[in-house]
Symmetry: C2
Subunit: 301 residues, 2 copies
Amino acid sequence: LTGEFQALARLFTMLPPSPVGEVWAGDDAAVVAAPPGPLLLAADTAVEGVHADLGLTAIEDFGWKAVVATLSDIAAMGGRPLQALVTVAAPPGTDLEALYSGVVAAAVRYDCPVVGGDLAGGPVVVVTVAVTGTVDGEPVLRSGARAGDAIWVTGPLGGAAAGLRAIRSGDASEETAPLRRAHLRPQPELREGAAARLAGATAMIDVSDGLLADLGHLADSSGVGFALESVPVEAGATEADALGGGEDYRLVFTAPDGNRLEQAFVGLRPPRRVGVCTNDLAERTFAGRPIPPIQGWEHRF
Amino acid sequence: LTGEFQALARLFTMLPPSPVGEVWAGDDAAVVAAPPGPLLLAADTAVEGVHADLGLTAIEDFGWKAVVATLSDIAAMGGRPLQALVTVAAPPGTDLEALYSGVVAAAVRYDCPVVGGDLAGGPVVVVTVAVTGTVDGEPVLRSGARAGDAIWVTGPLGGAAAGLRAIRSGDASEETAPLRRAHLRPQPELREGAAARLAGATAMIDVSDGLLADLGHLADSSGVGFALESVPVEAGATEADALGGGEDYRLVFTAPDGNRLEQAFVGLRPPRRVGVCTNDLAERTFAGRPIPPIQGWEHRF
């Protein structure tokens, strides 16, 4: 067994050095420059046995996913990330280097350095990622959708749910590799979120609990109904995966119908129009049929 | 059982409303004004069964302590807190209202509103608090102590350790009430931290793992040794409690010997001089005797 401070000292060597004028990991708090614009703050927790079975998910991937889940919240504001604080609770024997290697890989990939955090004991692995960010302009809230706005998604859905199914069934075929990767190494759509903001998005949310659930949150916050006409389904996934499966980390946003999005999305996958917001709050339909009330992932207490 | 979103909606009613121009809990990320000065970032995790036995500690106190542990990190920089993100993982049946009532009580008391977070399932209660802060001037790091600096503590130590002992032994006497309170409802020394900064503190850390351990971290970061001459012991605690017991959340700081601290500490408990920094890195003594290497709390991996 290793002591906490020795483990932390070793993990700190995996982190980039602080730039001049800032103090990252190793003091009581990190000292960083405040952004000139608004400060965005988001945090997400990933719990072994709840969010992932570490018998099926490598602990590196678990670390990666914990970071991406929070970065996706920044993407959903049309923002960009600045810093991450990563706290880990874990039982003795946990491969902390592997866990942090996934954390740091995502932090490096998305330009969001880990500047601090905490390490503690615990019965299962729990990774909490808090992220700061900012936005060059106005953040896109969940609450700005208006009746008549079109609804867009940034890409095909259901890949992560189909990938999890493949992993659970022991399917290691070439065919399901992209789906398994969608589940194990999701990507936050930071560029897409910024593009949607520039294209005049009125409301936005990321698909972490499932399209119907997350679009429901957006509609609740905005005080609108919605009529989904179609949904782009990832190759190899089902329509049910696309409607109810979580952890795709695509973005769903609304914009005045007729808004031309092409210019903002140059160089990115063009978003897909999937429906329209309505002024009947009670209206929640897909292809003309009402949607059953619970369709997404929810923890129970 | 209650669903996550219903539970969150109920918890949100316990939080203060967002001021105009800011967006607190309820969106993908909180939107707040960035401070004009540097941004401080700290996070701490509290795990049921590791940091507290919920058979002995009320869950309200567990929530309070989780917030205070992180605020104490801001105090140790000489800073002031701005916002908190609180993430909770908890099993079904957890009294989330009670937990959040302790969290919100500390947040209100120390002027650090909870602006967001996350709620998830898990086998035990895990509360992670990430805090932003700022400092009106230069933050006090762990690394600035110089040989010859005097070492100060902001108050008597060992109360929390003695209080935990009283709680474990079922001692509910009037006599141990202040000690039990020191353990269950610690206070972050935000005013004292700011005073130490104004008084010219060269290095500072909070006593969360035990005086010897935390002063050891400060000395390691600063590249100095230390000679402790005495330690103020809380009434009802032992000298061992004061040297090795954690969670007192007092501050220990260094300042050039001869610095007059009275003016900065007007209205506060005067700090106590407990020793001096030396230029021999290997020197770690108390009352002239070498200190055994491990004296504080460490998690094991």
